[in-house]
């Protein structure tokens, strides 16, 4: 019995110290991850300007990433425009400002909702797709196979996908904005009668160039972040088949988070520049 007692205190201490070491190792893991992501981004900028350029693959990815996302982005854009209009009408009606409906909805779609919702959907569809595709190519040694065919797999796979995502998302957002405004037009006409011409002239009167420019500019960053994070999680996946699902999942989580962070930064920067 006496021998048991001295053993006890160290046993109690162990969880405490492991707790700290777990926290420390989690923290160092986080910084390692950030560092390796930064290196990955650096490598992208190094390789993107270096010939030979993979134009064919870039075009193919633009088609797969951009064109194939049109239906999804279009449908959600329409629904958002419609719902937003229907939901906002009662509030405006209270102040007798129903005539402001097109302007209000139009501005919020173009400035904020169109870009962010499209980017989130893009992250879910394209970010996870890139993550899963590259991870499974890694597991099945396809990336190695490219390397022994004297192809730089980073350039062929990663650079083309990141570029395609960066270039396609802004176009998709413009498309989604247009469909969203049309959805809003339909929403307005459920209760009131506003002509197509009047509806859009109201919107364009309340919009300024300085609304449009930041709204479109930030979508390039959204697209870049989504493509880069998806590529990073896929290209660095190393855990066999289960890594494929994990890469897709991580890609969606972090690229969605990144969309909000960039959005917040963009708001700060534009308000600084406009004040």
């Amino acid at each position: 019995m006496q021998q048991v007692e001295p053993i006890n205190p160290p046993v109690e201490r162990i969880p405490e110290s492991t707790n700290i070491s777990i926290r420390v190792s989690l923290l160092s893991k986080f910084f390692l991850e950030v560092a390796s992501f930064s290196l990955f981004m650096l490598r992208f900028f190094k390789e993107v300007f270096k010939p030979p350029y993979e134009f064919n693959e870039l075009l193919k990815q633009c088609f797969l990433i951009g064109y194939k996302s049109l239906p999804l982005i279009g449908i959600t854009g329409f629904i958002i425009g419609l719902v937003l209009t229907i939901q906002s009408r009662p509030t405006l009606a209270k102040f007798g400002a129903v005539s402001w409906l097109p302007a209000m909805v139009g501005v919020s779609i173009i400035r904020e909702i169109g870009p962010v919702i499209s980017a989130l959907i893009f992250a879910g569809k394209v970010g996870s797709g890139i993550g899963a595709e590259l991870a499974s190519m890694k597991v099945t040694e396809q990336i190695d196979a490219m390397q022994v065919s004297w192809t730089n797999p980073f350039k062929y796979l990663v650079v083309s996908r990141v570029l395609a995502a960066t270039l396609m998302l802004p176009l998709l957002v413009i498309f989604s904005d247009a469909i969203g405004l049309f959805g809003s037009f339909v929403g307005v006409n459920l209760k009131d009668h506003v002509s197509f011409y009047l509806f859009f002239s109201q919107i364009f009167q309340s919009l300024e160039f300085k609304d449009l420019l930041p709204a479109i500019t930030k979508t390039f960053f959204f697209g870049f972040a989504i493509g880069l994070i998806g590529s990073y999680t896929g290209y660095n996946s190393n855990k066999g088949t289960e890594g494929v699902g994990e890469a897709a999942n991580t890609a969606v989580v972090f690229s969605s988070l990144m969309v909000f962070i960039i959005d917040m930064l963009a708001v700060q920067i534009t308000s600084l520049m406009q004040s």
Binding site: T140, E141, Q142, A145, W150
Partner: protein
């Protein structure tokens, strides 16, 4: 076993040329604490076909991946065509690597491409200027060689395991490399297809004077193709010799590969 009495359809390549094509000296490779290759020294002459035997996980794949640069060895020397790999410039290295073909253990077929595109990929990469007609002819010839002509427009996912293996082989052979590294070319195939693949390997060997390294667990394939056999164990070359020498080895562990 009838095979012992009937001679193979294609005779093994007799090695007359004594130029060393691949030479390794004290090659070492470890992953963390796992010392996979401890001290590998070997030479392969032009036109020779070397079979590597060894238990699963002894580092056979790692060894041939070091030759193409997919794994970077930690220490030692590797020369290909008499050029020390770690001392030559990058363009020279690429020129050397262009002469090496690698058949992946898993096939490593491009899932997003059709069978035809899988074969076109290395062609387009090797010579940017190749014409469409020429490419088409080469693709069809390569597929014909492995008996896959009818699958040309399929996706790899629609092929059976054996067909995938043969497609992998076709994709590697299409460039007629001077050195061929085969990682388990016949594993998972029925005896008839295995035999066809072994024959194909010999065929390529004879036609193009290819130097080959063949990793295999298929002792029939080893018997058909090997000029020389090396047995890897615990990161070193444990034994070396011809098929008959090793088959009648005094070491029972080595003999166990041949049972």
């Amino acid at each position: 076993m009838n095979n012992n009495t009937t001679p193979p359809e294609i005779k093994k390549n007799e090695v007359h040329d004594n130029t060393t094509v691949v030479a390794m000296k004290h090659l070492k490779k470890s992953f963390g604490n796992n010392d996979v290759l401890k001290d590998i020294t070997l030479q392969i002459n032009k036109g020779e076909s070397l079979v590597i035997l060894g238990k699963s996980g002894t580092g056979k794949s790692v060894l041939i991946k070091c030759i193409v640069g997919l794994n970077v060895f930690d220490d030692g020397e590797l020369s290909i065509f008499g050029q020390d790999i770690s001392k030559i410039s990058k363009p020279e290295l690429i020129a050397v690597r262009k002469k090496i073909g690698f058949l992946f253990q898993s096939g490593a077929l491009y899932d997003s491409m059709s069978v035809r595109e899988n074969l076109e990929f290395p062609l387009k990469r090797q010579q940017q200027t190749i014409g469409d007609d020429e490419m088409d002819a080469m693709v069809k010839e390569a597929l014909g060689n492995v008996g896959l002509s009818e699958a040309i427009d399929k996706k790899p996912s629609e092929l059976s395991g054996g067909m995938r293996k043969r497609l992998g082989l076709a994709r590697t052979l299409i460039l007629k490399p001077e050195i061929m590294l085969y990682d388990e070319p016949t594993t998972g195939l029925d005896p008839i297809t295995s035999k066809e693949i072994s024959t194909l390997i010999l065929d390529v060997q004879n036609k193009f004077q290819t130097t080959s390294i063949i990793i295999t667990h298929d002792i029939e394939c080893a018997k058909r193709t090997a000029n020389r056999i090396i047995v890897l164990k615990e990161g070193v070359c444990f034994a070396e010799g011809s098929y008959t020498e090793l088959e009648n080895s005094g070491d029972s562990w080595i003999r166990s590969f041949f049972e």
